[in-house]
Amino acid sequence: MYRYDDFDATIVAQRVAQFRDQTARFLKGELTEDEFRPLRLENGLYIQKHAPMLRVAIPYGMLSTTQLRKLAHIARTYDRGYGHFTTRQNIQFNWPRLEDVPEILAELAEVEMHAIQTSGNCVRNTTTDALAGVARDEVADPRPWCELIRQWSTIHPEFAFLPRKFKIAVNGATDDRAAILVHDIGVQLVRNRGGDLGFRVAVGGGQGRTPIIGEVIREFLPAAELLNYFDAILRVYNRYGRRDNKFKARIKILVKELTPAQFTRRVEFEWEHLRGGPGTIPDEEVARMATFFVDPQYEEIPRTSLAYRAALADSRPFSQWAARNVTGHKRTGYAAVTLSLKKTGVAPGDVTADQMNAIADLADRYSFSELRVTHEQNLVFADVLQSDLYHLWMKLKTLGLATPNIGLLTDIICCPGGDFCSLANAKSIPIAEAIQRRFDDLDFLHDIGDIELNMSGCMNACGHHHVGHIGVLGVDKNGAEWYQVSIGGAQGLQASLGKVIGPSFAAAEMPDVIAKLIDVYVRERHEDELFIDTVRRVGVAPFKEHVYAAAH
């Protein structure tokens, strides 16, 4: 993975010093609340319901075990002993003290981490495929490009005060595991007919209050032009994006108001001035970045591990886990393992400091001392020997990290919701738990198969409800918490937005509502048909009919 050089370390250290000084001036009353707010946000610090919340960047989801141990230390020393992994591959601490934050940032800098631009109206952490570098369907490794984007966007002086936040995702595989079409910019690595590497560029996707699928504005951008093209897009947005209404300030609204064609013309005009200029990425720099993301020292293994096959045959719980939590690898004899952070009774994405340390030990032993955070709020060991899978599973089980539910109904994407977030209209964590408790029959869960249930506590959509096969949105009705349900959303290259099935429900009704949706699926499905495909085939009507039939 990427390692800082002196220049990287200096920028982060200077940022820590700057924020330390800003915090001191704020506490002395030399900076007003309004002046300090954008500064603290661009350093990841929110003021939340109960306490400040600090969001730490995990660039494109890559973590070393040294970094994870530091996160454990921070959770224990400055927080209440846990952290929360987010849908943007970051981690949040919910209970730090404002005065401690500069010190936390200094500790993060020791392990080449920061919280720069994890909030605020600026370019946020770049996200990508959690299987980058090991996926079988990869066109090219997205991580060197992600790191180039991280550096380019870090304290980019022109774009520190955009109309609104700005999220970039990169996908390097033929399948899209980075949800690129619901980002402000989503780029897809592609090769043209001549075999040259480039990007397909989509702009203006997003969730939130106005969910929109991104528009492809360029089918092939030569890879070396990536940052020039980003400068062009960001400049058009910075100059013309709306600043009069924060709900209409995202780039998706500008793309829509200008029309994609007109927006594209402006971007291309800007790019003509920047093209081939100093921002063009030299081949040597691309090659240098790639050296940080080379394969680890894999063993040569001629065939699938026999011990693994035997364990699959012997142990049904192990084979159930392997069916859901183990993913194929580009190298024979290796696998990628997903650690489920969706155990019933634990807030989705939450990990304790003890677990973090134990996970770090396991990654040291079984996966080359690295791990990744997925945008579904789980963790991935990307390089595990198949012959180690059984032992790893045993150890993960004792840590409560082996729930065999990846991609299943209980692998719920969920924001912190009303329990923590001051923006939320409704709680989300207890609803997720109630649904998990209702679906506690593993065989039934496995029979239902792949399904994505995403839940957000408000229309800001941190829980990605618009692109959930089932989406749940917390809404406020006269001060009470209600839940609106949609179906038919999807991420990926066939991304679609869910359709609301009807009036919202009280919290206590939610497990029944989900159960009824599943009933209809089980009744209507063709053989081997996934939930989302059934919804696409039969439409919303049968689901709606069944869910509302008994209640009214």
Partner: protein, 173 residues
């Protein structure tokens, strides 16, 4: 105490900023003035004849409007109505990098210490610090960083080019 930072030090401001000037009648006698873009475009010839004049660009003003005038203008001021309105950063880079303006590029309005470094990177070399703030204190903001990654107006070569160039240079004996 002067409120204007120019080229890294506090200086007395010779210029009168007239954000509300709509016609030549609104101008004081003789003193160097900075006038809004609309007045400059309407009275360009008269203003050049009159003597020293600069232009004030509002956030929504397109700097292309004065692209052919940059050699006639000793000062261009760019307004930041609130420091969170970042349009002026793009205006500055366009003036410096596309229209090759070489005169004084001045940030005016809600101009505060914590944004000075960013402004300087985008090409500003003068900063009219907000009246209620200590301009001496604000000077420190210019030193927040020793360099950034991206291409900027002040440092056109991004870090990935500078690092290679730096290595190629002979080391100290």
């Amino acid at each position: 105490m002067p409120q204007l930072i120019k080229n890294g030090t506090l200086v007395e401001d010779r210029w009168t900023l007239l954000a509300e000037a709509y016609s030549l009648n609104d101008l004081p006698e003789a003193s160097p003035v900075i006038v809004p873009l609309a007045l400059w475009l309407a009275e360009r010839r008269a203003l050049i004849t009159r003597g020293e004049a600069g232009v004030l660009l509002a956030p929504e003003d397109d700097p292309e409007a004065i692209a052919s005038d940059v050699r006639l203008l000793p000062v261009i001021a760019v307004e930041f109505p609130q420091f969170t309105d970042g349009r002026g950063y793009s205006t500055a880079r366009l003036l410096r990098e596309r229209y090759l303006f070489r005169g004084e590029l001045r940030a005016v309005g809600d101009v505060l210490r914590d944004q000075l470094y960013l402004m300087a990177e985008c090409g500003f070399d003068a900063f009219a610090i907000r009246e209620d703030r200590d301009a001496q204190d604000a000077l420190a903001g210019l030193k927040d960083f020793s360099g950034l990654y991206a291409t900027t107006a002040r440092v056109p070569q991004p870090w990935f080019r500078r690092r290679v160039a730096g290595r190629a240079e002979p080391r100290d004996p």
